[in-house]
């Protein structure tokens, strides 16, 4: 197990989630909620918040207990930890924001199987101490919120003619139907790839979804 030890600053761990390894635009993880709930900016934002809460809490907990968990049962343990936080988030939304809970429907419980969270737990939180794990989860979480909010905003403007419930245009119905989600996401990814090609040609960007220097390919 020759592990290449690359030391990264906390700032790097935070920023990579926002742009270089953005969970939605670069790693293409968590596509199900990304496509399904972003019919409006507020839905996208709420979904992002709920997912980030689960991501940050479970990354921290997994990082704390990482040395106690035998590797054979690690996935089962992670899922239980994740499921606990998802249920908490679900109950919290149902109790305090019934409207949002109704709009997100089954996608809140489905955070359990969101690959961003299990992905971060497996490749990052289980191999790093608490602070880097927290910062990594925070960066990924904010990256996810940003992506969902941007997608939701674009679809809301074009599809319903409103922004966060304000403003009025003549709407384009396709944009809030499933087809609109694919069109918007595809164009956004194309645009980001274009920017990336233009600006960061000489810098070696990690090939996603394998995270930078975390030894994700190692087999135990």
């Amino acid at each position: 197990m020759a592990k290449i030890k690359v030391k990264h600053t906390l700032f790097f761990e935070f920023v990579k989630g926002l742009w270089d390894e953005s969970p939605v635009f670069r790693q293409l993880l968590g596509m199900c909620p990304t496509l399904a709930v972003t019919t409006s900016a507020i839905n996208g934002f709420s979904m992002g918040m709920a997912t980030s809460f689960v991501l940050i809490c479970s990354s921290v907990i997994i990082s704390i207990v990482r040395k106690l968990i035998p590797s054979q049962v690690r996935i089962a343990s992670y899922i239980v930890v994740i499921a606990t936080f998802v249920t908490m988030a679900d109950l919290f939304l149902k109790g305090n924001f019934p409207e949002i809970s109704k709009a997100l429907g089954p996608f809140v419980p489905l955070i359990v199987v969101n690959c961003i969270i299990l992905g971060r737990a497996e490749v990052f939180a289980s191999r790093h101490s608490v602070i880097p794990a927290f910062v990594d989860a925070l960066g990924m979480g904010i990256g996810f919120i940003l992506a969902l909010t941007v997608l939701g905003t674009i679809r809301e403007i074009l599809g319903s003619g409103t922004i966060f419930g304000f403003l009025q245009f003549e709407p384009m119905v396709i944009m809030i139907l499933p087809g609109g989600a694919f069109i918007t996401l595809g164009l956004l990814i194309a645009f980001i790839n274009y920017l990336k090609d233009k600006t960061k040609r000489e810098e070696v960007a990690p090939a996603c979804p394998v995270p930078y220097g975390s030894g994700a390919s190692e087999v135990k």
Partner: protein, 182 residues
């Protein structure tokens, strides 16, 4: 052996901790969830039978309806919970009838999954308002592309006849079922 024991212990401990945390969380949020449900039922009942001050919930078989009373305790109507299939999924709605069963007093869509921009218009105030003052007998009918001419007719939403028809059918079916109970 040692390894197996460790796995069992770790998973059990994680399970116990997560179970306890969830139990506490559930107890904390349950009253709020119930409160929200009551609030949304209240809103719907007060909307479909205007003037309601208090109501009594009844359920016979799987039919749920609310007898509505005004401030003096006189029965002013009934709000009936209806559900059935729409174009894309279940539609849940509530419809109000006045005390002598001659007129609908209002309709509110509670849940729907119709096409946004087309069928979803059944949840808009304009469509729902058509049910206010609609004659309850004979059964509701819908007309397309023209203004309703008879007291039991509503105008279907352009481009969403299936959704409009679904609402009408759901109401007719449930009201029929409810009348048979009487």
């Amino acid at each position: 052996m040692n390894k197996i024991l460790k796995m069992i212990v770790v998973l059990t401990v994680i399970g116990i901790i997560s179970g306890s945390v969830l139990a506490i969380m559930y107890q904390w949020s349950l009253p709020k969830i119930i409160e929200n449900q009551i609030k949304s039922t209240n809103e719907a009942v007060f909307k479909v039978v205007p003037g309601t001050v208090k109501y009594k919930e009844n359920s016979v078989d799987d039919l749920v309806y609310f007898d509505c009373f005004d401030g003096t305790g006189a029965r002013i109507g009934t709000a009936i919970l209806c559900s059935g299939n729409g174009y894309q999924g279940q539609i849940k709605l509530m419809v109000g009838v006045n005390a002598d069963l001659t007129q609908f007093t209002g309709m509110a869509i509670l849940e729907q999954l119709e096409t946004p921009g087309l069928g979803a218009k059944i949840a808009e105030a304009k469509f729902q308002a058509q049910f206010k003052g609609l004659a309850s007998r004979p059964p509701i009918e819908y007309v397309k592309g023209k203004s309703p001419s008879r007291p039991n007719e509503i105008e279907a939403i352009t481009g969403a006849t299936i959704s409009s028809k679904a609402v009408v059918d759901i109401i007719n079916k449930t009201v029929e079922q409810w009348l048979r109970l009487k």
